[in-house]
């Protein structure tokens, strides 16, 4: 009965999560493998290409079917999506296809839609590369976007190979994202640990005040804080002006639009997420343990490393995992204070979602990030003996 009641009590939240979190997430991530645009727009052409292999002569009927498909897809407004999809693989084919569809629709009755007709519009439309790309997008699923996320591509014969040097992007970006997240986590730990320790050692009233100082930036909008850093770090900003006035530097330092700016701003933004879990655990460590260690002859440094730190380990793990995972998803801060080589993976997810509307690639990159994060979390969980999961 108790179990049933508990289940019933959890039902609203579970339902809510299923409807508003799990379902949309699965749907969005499924876009990474779905191929719907080309089968919807060019069904006849795809049937014609079923037995065709790159390297063979094209089936005779393929062009008249292509013409029929183009005309109908244009009327049903499904052609633009398919043309966009094919343009990812065959550069320039988007407007060529749209133009071909217009010409097919306006052609005189009795026009023969053969290879000649399409060659006059653009030779690309009769090339094996174009039809190979159409065939690969036959759906319902394909590995195109997932491969693209790992800088891989298929050549005309369908074999997987690395993208050309100029188009290898996302593996580097993933490594960069992991690197920046790890650096920020380390900086947060180095800066946050002493603060959390201090909070446990002062009187409760002082601790309350210090806590407000920690939480104040926490309550301020992320965008405002990032914009504030622009003002502080820029060439004629506060930091440079003060350092120059003090005579410590003669030339202004470049603190923004590079990695330095990203690390400073992100560390500041994420610091509370380190301090709060640390504090919640550290305040539970009885002070007399350290005194006991000292009375038994341990110098303060030894006592700290052998007595205090092992007890603080779960907090360090929890805080680090929290900061690391949050940092992995950052994009607005690097976008505003970083340079071209400081952009993180979510920046590209955002660009592909809102700007170019390449949801397939956005989903594939999202999936890549989700899997990496889960894997790292699993490792952290294992290494910390299950303590990374607990929040202290």
């Amino acid at each position: 009965m108790l179990l049933r009641q508990r289940t019933a009590l959890l039902l609203p939240l579970t339902g809510f999560l299923l409807v508003f979190f799990v379902a949309p997430l699965v749907w969005l991530l499924s876009l990474a493998v779905r191929e719907a645009e080309v089968p919807r727009a060019l069904p006849r052409t795809l049937i014609e290409l079923q037995t065709w292999q790159p390297g063979q002569a094209l089936p005779a009927k393929v062009f008249s079917d292509l013409a029929l498909d183009l005309r109908e897809a244009r009327e049903a407004s499904t052609l633009a999506d398919a043309a966009r999809r094919l343009n990812y693989e065959v550069n320039g084919v988007r407007s060529t296809l749209m133009r071909a569809a217009r010409e097919v629709s306006s052609a005189d009755a009795g026009t023969v839609f053969g290879a000649d007709f399409f060659t006059t519009i653009d030779p690309t439309l009769t090339s094996p590369e174009f039809f190979a790309a159409v065939k690969r997008a036959h759906g319902p699923v394909s590995s195109y976007y997932l491969l693209a996320a790992f800088d891989l591509t298929r050549n005309a014969n369908g074999e997987i190979e690395r993208a050309t040097e100029a188009n290898r992007i996302y593996v580097d970006v993933l490594l960069r994202t992991l690197g920046i997240s790890a650096s920020v986590t380390l900086l947060c730990l180095l800066l946050g640990f002493p603060v959390a320790m201090l909070l446990t050692q002062v009187t409760e009233k002082t601790a309350d005040w210090l806590m407000i100082l920690v939480l104040l930036p926490f309550w301020t909008s992320l965008l405002v804080r990032t914009a504030a850093w622009v003002v502080v770090l820029q060439r004629e900003g506060m930091v440079n002006t003060v350092l120059m006035d003090l005579g410590l530097i003669s030339e202004p330092l470049t603190l923004i639009y590079n990695r330095t700016g990203v690390l400073i701003a992100m560390t500041h933004v994420l610091l509370p997420f380190m301090i709060l879990p640390l504090y919640s655990v550290l305040k539970g460590i009885p002070p007399h343990y350290m005194r006991a260690a000292a009375s038994l002859g341990a110098p303060p440094v030894v006592a700290f490393f052998r007595v205090y730190l092992p007890m603080a380990a779960p907090a360090i793990a929890a805080g680090s995992v929290m900061v690391f995972i949050l940092a992995m998803g950052y994009y607005i801060t690097p976008a505003l204070v970083g340079g071209g080589s400081d952009q993180m993976l979510s920046y590209f997810v955002a660009t592909y979602t809102t700007d170019t509307g390449n949801w397939g690639l956005a989903s594939a990159l999202g999936l890549m990030m989700l899997v990496t994060t889960l894997a790292l979390y699993g490792v952290a969980h294992k290494l910390s003996g299950g303590r990374a999961l607990s929040m202290g």
Partner: protein
């Protein structure tokens, strides 16, 4: 007990779900680029239109075809009239995101400059991507894109938009290609290589901007000595913040933003009335006072205060130095070049 709870949960879920599903009629809603620009539009278009008796609300957005696609595919969008960039106009029209425009309902084709009327939209403003610098700080005035790429003549950081569009063009012009041949050269693989090679020469001194508000800010902060910028933003900084920013117009690309009516809006008739109202010469003529962008009604230019013409993209003296952005080129090559650009910008 359980049954009772289930009923409550079910009812709650129904309430949640039925809210957004019901089609709701809304006031006519217009969406533009925000900031000082939209403040100006409010004064010259939105408020006077409200006074005609049709209730109008306005919103701001940052652009992006993905956003428009979501609005249409998601259904029940509250956006009726939207200002879009040129490629968004073309691609969105192909994808069926906008209503087809009956040009007779918006004042007739003869009212507008040639090339600004499209089956899916009508031009709202014309603007240039100019070379801008701080006249108070820079001793040697740059004379064009070749100086922008000359770090010996003018040392220091310079900023460009983070993206291939327009940067490849100016790189080629700096490399000696005439502005009328730029897209011919860019249509060859060697032309693209040449543009990136030219950009390589100043890569160490480059900073990237993302939003149009950043370039004047970077100039003011001294982060850069020169930048590319939308012309209206530079004039606005000069007027509002008393800056002495200068602009070079020679060989700058010009482009156009358009008004479109979103597909399936229940407010179509009112939306057409609004677009017609915003296309009237006497209304458009008031806009440059607020932000220095060119307008598209032929009859508007003679009505514009002469003192404003000096920095207006539609001023014939300025317009003849500029070149038109080739939107077809970017629609076809934008995807591939975006990848190439990302790789290029992301490596030292």
């Amino acid at each position: 007990m359980k049954k009772h709870l289930l009923a409550v949960v079910g009812a709650a879920a129904l309430v949640c779900l039925s809210g957004p599903v019901q089609a709701q009629s809304h006031d006519l809603n217009v969406v533009s680029w925000g900031g000082a620009y939209q403040d100006g539009q409010k004064e010259v278009y939105f408020k006077p239109f409200n006074a005609t008796g049709i209730k109008l609300t306005d919103e701001a957005w940052d652009g992006g075809l993905g956003v428009l696609r979501t609005k249409i595919k998601g259904g029940n969008s509250t956006w009726d009239v939207v200002q879009v960039e040129h490629d968004e106009l073309e691609i969105g029209c192909d994808e069926g995101l906008y209503e087809k425009l009956d040009v007779n309902k918006i004042g007739g084709a003869a009212r507008y400059l040639p090339g600004t009327v499209h089956p899916c939209g009508v031009g709202a403003i014309i603007y240039n991507l100019v070379l801008a610098y701080d006249g108070d700080k820079l001793k040697t005035a740059p004379n064009g894109w070749s100086d922008f790429f000359d770090t010996k003549k003018i040392p220091g950081k310079r900023s460009i938009r983070n993206g291939a569009k327009w940067n490849l063009e100016i790189a080629l012009i700096a490399d000696g290609v005439s502005s009328s041949d730029v897209y011919k050269v860019l249509r060859t693989p060697e032309g693209v290589e040449r543009a990136f090679k030219k950009l390589d020469t100043i890569k160490g001194d480059l900073v990237f901007w993302k939003s149009g508000a950043q370039p004047p800010q970077m100039l003011a902060a001294g982060d850069v000595v020169m930048t590319t910028a939308y012309n209206g933003r530079i004039t606005a900084a000069n007027e509002k913040d008393k800056k002495n920013f200068k602009m070079v117009w020679k060989d700058t690309p010009w482009t156009m933003d358009s008004w479109v009516i979103m597909k399936g809006t229940p407010q179509k008739a009112n939306a057409e009335k609004l677009v017609e109202f915003m296309g009237r010469p006497e209304n458009q003529a008031k806009l440059p006072k607020y932000v220095r962008y060119g307008v598209t009604a032929i009859g508007a230019t003679p009505l514009i205060d002469k003192s404003l013409m000096g920095e207006l993209p539609t001023n014939p003296e300025i317009h003849k130095q500029a070149f038109a952005e080739d939107v077809k080129y970017w629609i076809d090559n934008g995807d591939k070049l975006a990848e190439r650009w990302t790789k290029w910008a992301g490596t030292k």
